[in-house]
């Protein structure tokens, strides 16, 4: 697929039109949806109307994303479209406002072509928790695309759209990006506004970007990053010129590698791809240093206490009163709440709400929640110490390539352990990026992950860009748009 910069230039110069570009993306989305189930809504009418307006607009040359088609995870609010969060409890809920990231994208000429499928309320690592059926991996449709932003990852991997947005609470952008062979960026906590993103774990959630390459991810981050008065957790930190930083020169940059993270539980092919990537960075002139994150082994335990505690509180708002689904035949208010939530939520969401309720309940708060927040401090200190020695830490994104549907669905803990490399970034609030670094013998994508200090997205994108330029992957998935 063409780069965003080329796509936009073609439209601005009149070599093609926004309408043609958007119609091509819509056609592909519709044609491949039976096979991939990547979209929960495809918004043809609105998207074509908007593209026509962009073509006719006198100021289109000033729009940095003029005519660029984008897909949005169905937990980010876009007016005129549904926001289901992959859940029956919201169903065809239509939000009355745009998320800040959407306002910013629309202001630069981007066009939303539809809402992508995801695990219910972004809870899952395989997309099997969507109430509307799982997304299929374009590289092998008998395998999961990863989760929770599986639809966005698959839509980019299959060449339907050049870029998409997802959300990342414990790896939900980076993990599906790795399994689908695309770039996935989770920014620093507070870099991008969460206003209009349906909350799951408020101290962990960030909107993230999917793209085929680091340059396109940089262009999108440039538009969506920055302080937003509607989200008090966005920080007043200047937004650098990300695309300008991608000069390919990573000589002398220090990459941290932890041997402990390349040991037990890691698939042999993933380990060997990561070792090759480390050598590739050496060839580019980067320096490899040993780092130690002694508390990383506890990250999954900490994450599943904090994330479920926050989820149990955030999801209390879905009660059948103000929006979404309401169960029928409940004689009193309390019965209506309980029946609505029982019929509206799927098993994984209930499991997490209950776990979160348990760890916050009287008598257990100190033993679980407070303990987890203390270990989170220790993990943050591990990262701060490691970043004194390096500019970024290189790890695998996932322990294995894409697994088969049904493989882990009955074993929640095994599913959670799939996030072992990604949850640390959310707990520490640091940015992370997953970059494709090869295919397994079975032809499945493998991803490397780079984690950096707070606000170091420019360095991560620069490192990703340099690697991709030197080590391009030319293979395409069997399910592809053209």
């Amino acid at each position: 697929m063409e780069s965003l910069a080329n796509l936009r230039t073609g439209i601005v110069r009149g070599e093609t039109t926004a309408r043609k570009t958007i119609e091509t993306a819509l056609d592909s989305a519709e044609r491949l949806n039976d096979e991939l189930n990547a979209f929960l809504q495809i918004a043809r009418e609105g998207a074509v109307k908007r593209a026509t307006e962009i073509d006719q607009s006198a100021g289109k040359a000033t729009l940095s994303l003029a005519g660029v088609p984008i897909a949005i995870k169905d937990n980010i609010c876009v007016t005129g479209m549904q926001t289901s969060c992959g859940s029956r409890i919201l169903g065809r809920y239509h939000p009355p406002y745009n998320a800040t990231v959407i306002e910013r994208l629309l202001a630069t000429g981007a066009t939303v072509i539809g809402k992508t499928n995801c695990d219910e309320f972004a809870m899952g690592s395989s997309n099997e928790n969507s109430a509307f059926g799982p997304v299929k991996n374009p590289w092998d449709t008998s395998r999961v695309p990863g989760g929770s932003s599986g639809g966005s990852a698959a839509a980019v991997a299959a060449g339907i759209v050049p870029v998409a947005l997802g959300s990342d609470t414990g790896g939900s952008v980076r993990q599906p990006a790795a399994l689908c062979g695309v770039v996935g960026l989770k920014p620093t906590y507070g870099r991008v506004s969460r206003y209009g993103l349906v909350a799951f774990g408020s101290s962990l959630d960030q909107v993230g970007v999917f793209a085929t390459n680091a340059s396109d991810a940089a262009l999108i981050l440039q538009v969506i990053a920055g302080r937003d008065p509607h989200d008090a957790t966005t920080a007043d930190v200047p937004v650098p010129d990300y695309p300008a930083m991608l000069d390919g020169d990573v000589k002398g940059m220090r990459l941290g590698v932890s041997d402990a993270l390349l040991g037990k539980g890691l698939d042999d092919e993933v380990r060997s791809a990561i070792k090759n990537a480390i050598n590739a960075y050496k060839d580019l002139g980067a320096e490899i240093v040993d780092v130690d994150l002694p508390h990383a082994q506890y990250a999954i335990a900490v994450y599943y206490i904090i994330a479920t505690a926050e989820a149990s509180s955030n999801l209390a708002r879905f009660d059948g009163v103000r929006y979404g689904f309401r169960a029928e035949d409940a004689p009193a208010l309390r019965d209506m709440y309980r029946k609505t939530r029982d019929e509206g939520f799927g098993p994984e969401v209930k499991r997490r709400i209950m776990l979160g309720t348990y760890v916050l309940s009287a008598g257990y708060y100190d033993a679980y929640y407070l303990k987890a927040q203390k270990v989170r401090t220790l993990l943050r200190q591990d990262f701060a110490k490691a970043f004194e020695r390096c500019d970024a830490i290189l790890t695998p994104t996932t322990p294995t390539p894409a697994f088969k549907f049904g493989e882990k669905v009955d074993d929640p803990l095994a599913m959670y352990l799939n996030d072992i490399y990604t949850v640390t970034a959310n707990l520490a609030g640091v940015p992370g990026i997953s970059v494709p670094c090869g295919l397994s013998a079975e032809g499945l994508p493998i991803g490397l992950q780079l984690l950096g200090p707070h606000w170091s997205e420019a360095n991560l994108l620069k490192l990703a860009h340099a690697y991709q330029t030197a080590n391009p992957i030319s293979e395409r998935p069997p399910v592809f748009a053209d």
Binding site: G190, A232, Y298, D319, G324, F325, P331, L333, K350
Partner: protein, 99 residues
């Protein structure tokens, strides 16, 4: 600590979930296993550690997030009620509160 089916029943009540017997039987061993897994944290000495409440970076903590106390436009009653399962005369109508 093992989580029994009666614990699950109690948690479901606190969480406003009307779970079925089948769900109760499924959740009890699964949540027990997860709780046993997270209890590995007890091995870490955290007596001198401050809890990390919230996810803010140091720069985020320093960011001034209040605004002048001035009225700003809001959704309005019609739009706010637009998606309600049972909106009536400018209100959200619900089943009776007292049994």
């Amino acid at each position: 600590m093992p989580i029994t089916e009666s614990d699950i029943e109690k948690i479901a009540l606190l969480a406003h979930l009307d779970i079925t017997e089948a769900e109760r039987k499924m959740f009890a061993p699964q949540i027990s296993e997860i709780v046993a897994y997270v209890e590995q944290l007890n091995a870490i000495d955290t007596s001198a550690v401050q809890p990390a409440l919230g996810g803010l970076t140091p720069e985020g903590e320093q960011t001034e997030s209040s605004r002048p106390d001035e009225v700003q436009p809001s959704l309005g009653q019609k739009l706010a009620l637009d998606q309600a399962p049972d909106g009536a005369s400018g209100h959200f109508r619900v089943p009776k509160v007292l049994g």
